[in-house]
């Protein structure tokens, strides 16, 4: 794979990661925030896979990437359940409404 450097992968990961952060920070919809989380996790996964390809970590990084994916699925399931519960209680999905715990 000539011409593709490790940095290219890392840049992609960085963009995904920062996009995820910004997504989390800006979306008022709880599910939008979840999407941001997924983006962040994928940004990390890109790095893992890239290092697996370009460094001597080897296959371990792929294992970790797999675990990340699987656990992200679990996380998404729970988060969605929370979202539904939240919706049932508040009749909205707006996270700005969820400020009962403010100081």
């Amino acid at each position: 794979m000539e011409g593709i450097s490790l940095n290219s992968f890392l840049f992609v990961g960085a963009i995904l990661f920062v996009s995820g952060i910004v997504c989390m920070a800006t979306k008022r919809n709880l599910i939008g925030i979840l999407m941001g989380v997924e983006l962040v996790l994928n940004g990390a996964n890109v790095n893992l896979v890239a290092f697996s390809r370009y460094s001597s970590i080897g296959i371990d990084a792929k294992f970790i990437a797999l675990f990340v994916i699987v656990l992200a699925a679990a996380e998404a399931a729970v988060a969605l359940a929370i979202a539904l519960s939240f919706y049932n209680n508040h009749q909205t999905i707006d996270v700005d409404q969820a400020d009962e715990l403010q100081g």
């Binding site: 952060i21 989390m24 800006t26 979306k27 996270v95 969820a98 403010q102 100081g103």
Partner: protein, 814 residues
């Protein structure tokens, strides 16, 4: 099994049975249903009875082993001794000595042979040992010091065992009846009052009483069986605690408590001396064991051998200041550097005096005699036991047992102590009106006799009197108990009188005891034997010893005359008691009407004891008891001691005593008869009014009633000074120490005040300031906790950015 093992086994069983009884009773007593049954008493009686049987078996075993030849030999010896007057004494003594050596060479180190079974034609029996010793169990092992349970069995032990168990059995049986009113859940103690004046009601303590009795017997037997002086001390104290428990049995009565405490504390005074003696012995002798014992694989000689060697003589160094230790074969013990092991003679005296101090306390000798009369507060069976077989006998027994360690100076002290005691107690007994107190003072007096006898080398006489006295005194106490029981716990003789018809068995058995203690006898020989009760023989022996002693040491004239006169006084006050109680007209008619003879369970022991009181010493010096005892006589007593340095005392030998025996007997009999007649005149006939005499000698009477003012004296000597010293101490405490303490306290309070200021201003201030700051910071930071998820994420992101930038700025090189 050898004889020694058989004896050991039998006596051990006899010794431990009462303990088993105690354990069972005291634990079984926790169940309510056992408390008010006769089971405890029966158990107790069975235990002590079995003990008696085993003791008796041991006695028989001992006799069989020696083929009773020892007694026969003594018989020969008696003949022999009688022949001393015919100038055979020297021969005998000479024949005696190599013999002893030979025997010691032949026999085991642990065993001493009797000195008296050694006539030439009895040679084949000479090897039979008369002493068995050994070790049960090592309690503790502190290097050189071994604390162990040993046994030491000779004929004295056997006699003591048999006597104690027999008397104890009788007393137990008697007590079954006497204490039967305790068999209730609601015992009314008429002599104890609550604060509102009503009588004390309490559950009966029948089982407890018998448990304590058992423990008492166990302790006494253990003391007798003990093979070392430390063990003796242990059981000594056990006897003490048992007497404490039993004297204070009516614990609701203040007088009983005081008496128990008094007995206990008085004994502690004596035990203090005992402890000093023990320390001296341990420090200089290095062993507690009476006879040769094994330590770390080596035989080390016991105390007796070390002091007396094999010939019974004390071996002094040339300057006479120290005593050389010897082993059982007479060789001097060596130190590691080869020099002779010695003990300063003074310390030996101190050791002897110390141990005898313990005996003074235990046997209520002058000047510690005051506790014994007060000990009458206990139930009468206890008094009987204490006064005859156990408590007070322990002191005399130990004095006898420890005789080899006593130097002539100590013996002289013992003699004088005994002399004083016997006289003082007898005089007090003359005026006492409480039936039990009369008996108590007579006990003290008789104990004085025993001590005196031992002190003047009448070893056998003293212990002989111990045994006989045990029998007749227990008899009399039980009789008095029977009287008290019959008179519904009335103890004052002036309220009695004329009880002979009401309670004939008690009266007659009492009369046997009175005759016995007075030493009356028919001064003729019938069928070759003097017809006399036991007291005559023993007291006769003592008086004879005193006479012999006086002849040899003319300066100690009192040691003969005082006991002689006191023999008369004894007869007087004993008959006074009997006449007062049983003859004449009843002085308290109402009480007299209710008097009744005691049940059979109480009278049967009286009869048994009366039999023994009358006949135990039958035969006198050729009797069984005497011969048994003389078996155990320490080496060297029989020969007497020639004017011994530094006290320059000459102790009479058997031959000397024999020489004056019949003479002394007559004196004593005259004295006793005189006393009896006076008593008869005074109390049994209306010839003389004792009240008149009392008035004429009111000063003396008062002096005697006040017990020679001993209690007053002690009060003045010890109690008052102690109070004064205590008040001084209290004053010092209050004035000096308290003020110092108060000063400290004040300082502490001041410091604390300052501290409080510090705490409040600075510490609290700091903390509160911190809290306020935290609170205000939290209040202002509260704004940050918006509860808005997105803002949190922004915070995180922004802070990461800031951290990154900070890291870049601060660590640009990385």
């Amino acid at each position: 099994m050898t004889t020694g093992e058989v004896l050991k086994t039998l006596l051990t069983i006899a010794w431990l049975l009462p303990l088993a009884g105690f354990a069972i009773e005291i634990f079984a007593g926790y169940w309510q249903k056992n408390r008010f049954s006769m089971a405890a008493a029966k158990m107790s009686v069975i235990c002590i009875g079995m003990s008696f049987i085993f003791s008796l078996l041991a006695l028989i075993q001992w006799g069989l082993a020696t083929d009773w030849t020892a007694l026969a030999a003594t018989e020969h010896h008696g003949d022999h001794a009688a022949a001393v007057h015919h100038e055979e004494a020297g021969n005998h003594a000479k024949a005696h000595e190599p013999h002893g050596k030979e025997e010691h060479a032949n026999t085991d180190h642990h065993e001493k042979t009797a000195h008296h079974d050694k006539d030439e034609h009895e040679e084949k029996h000479a090897v039979v040992p008369s002493t068995f010793s050994g070790r049960f169990y090592t309690l503790a092992d502190f290097g050189k010091l071994k604390l162990s349970l040993d046994y030491y069995i000779d004929s004295l032990t056997l006699i003591m065992f048999t006597m104690v168990t027999l008397i104890a059995t009788c007393i137990h049986i008697f007590a079954m009846g006497y204490m039967s009113d305790e068999l209730t859940n609601d015992y009314v103690d008429h002599q104890a009052h609550k604060s509102d004046g009503s009588h004390v009601h309490r559950p009966g303590r029948y089982y407890q009483f018998f448990a304590f009795l058992s423990l008492f017997c166990f302790s006494m037997l253990g003391l007798v069986l003990a093979g070392n002086i430390f063990q003796v001390f242990v059981f000594w104290e056990l006897v003490g605690i048992c007497s404490y428990l039993l004297i204070g049995f009516y614990t609701e009565r203040k007088t009983a408590n005081v008496a128990a405490n008094k007995a206990f504390i008085m004994n502690r005074v004596g035990d203090f001396g005992f402890l000093i003696g023990l320390m001296v012995i341990w420090t200089w002798f290095g062993t507690f064991s009476f006879t040769t014992s094994e330590l770390n694989g080596h035989d080390i000689p016991g105390i007796f051998e070390m002091v007396r060697g094999n010939d019974g003589a004390i071996s002094l160094t040339e300057d006479g200041n120290s005593m050389i230790f010897r082993d059982g074969e007479g060789h001097a013990l060596k130190n590691e550097d080869g020099s002779n092991r010695t003990i300063p003679y003074t310390l030996l005296v101190v050791a002897g005096l110390g141990v005898f101090g313990g005996c003074i306390g235990k046997s209520a000798q002058f000047p510690l005699q005051t506790w014994l009369p007060d000990a009458m507060e206990g139930p009468t069976p206890v008094s009987a036991l204490v006064h005859s077989a156990t408590m007070v006998a322990a002191g005399v027994y130990l004095t006898g047992r420890f005789y080899p360690v006593f130097t002539p100076e100590v013996l002289l002290t013992i003699a004088y102590i005994g002399c004083i005691t016997l006289f003082v107690a007898a005089t007090i007994a003359v005026v006492a009106t409480d039936i039990k107190r009369v008996l108590a003072y007579s006990t003290i007096s008789q104990l004085g006799y025993m001590m005196l006898a031992i002190g003047i080398s009448g070893w056998v006489a003293g212990l002989f009197h111990l045994i006989t006295h045990a029998f007749f005194k227990s008899l009399m106490f039980l009789c008095s108990g029977s009287v008290i029981h019959g008179c519904h716990h009335e103890q004052e003789m002036p309220k009695m009188g004329g009880l002979l018809k009401k309670m004939p068995v008690t009266a007659l058995t009492m009369l046997v005891g009175v005759i016995a203690i007075s030493g009356l006898a028919i001064p003729f020989t019938i069928f070759g034997m003097k017809f006399a009760f036991s007291g005559y023989h023993s007291k006769d022996a003592i008086v004879a010893t005193g006479l012999a002693y006086m002849r040899l040491n003319p300066s100690h004239i009192f040691l003969f005359f005082v006991p002689l006169v006191t023999a008369g006084i004894t007869a007087f006050y004993m008959f006074r008691l009997w006449f007062y109680t049983f003859l004449g007209r009843p002085r308290d008619q109402e009480m007299h009407d209710h008097v009744h003879e005691s049940p059979r369970i109480m009278t049967v022991p009286l009869l048994v004891l009366a039999l023994f009181a009358a006949g135990c010493a039958i035969g006198g010096e050729s009797g069984f008891l005497y011969k048994m005892l003389i078996h155990s006589e320490p080496a060297g007593v029989a020969e007497g001691v020639e004017a011994f340095a530094p006290a320059m005392l000459t102790l009479p030998s058997h031959h000397h005593i024999h020489a004056v025996h019949s003479e002394a007997g007559i004196y004593a009999l005259i004295a006793a008869v005189t006393g009896m007649i006076i008593a008869y005149i005074l109390y049994a006939t209306p010839l003389v009014d004792p009240g008149e005499i009392k008035r004429q000698f009111s000063g003396l009477h008062h002096f005697l009633v006040e017990k020679w003012h001993f209690d007053t004296l002690y009060d003045a000597m010890f109690v008052k000074p102690m109070h004064i010293v205590a008040s001084w101490c209290s004053a010092i405490d209050k004035k000096l120490f308290d003020s110092i303490l108060h000063g400290f306290c004040a300082v502490a309070v001041k410091i604390a005040r300052f501290d409080r200021q510090f705490d409040e201003k600075i510490v609290d201030g700091l903390v509160e300031t911190l809290g306020d700051v935290t609170f205000s910071v939290g209040r202002s930071l509260k704004v940050l906790q918006t509860g808005k998820l997105r803002q949190y994420i922004m915070f995180i992101a922004a802070s990461v950015v800031v951290l990154f930038i900070l890291a870049f700025v601060l660590f640009p090189s990385i």
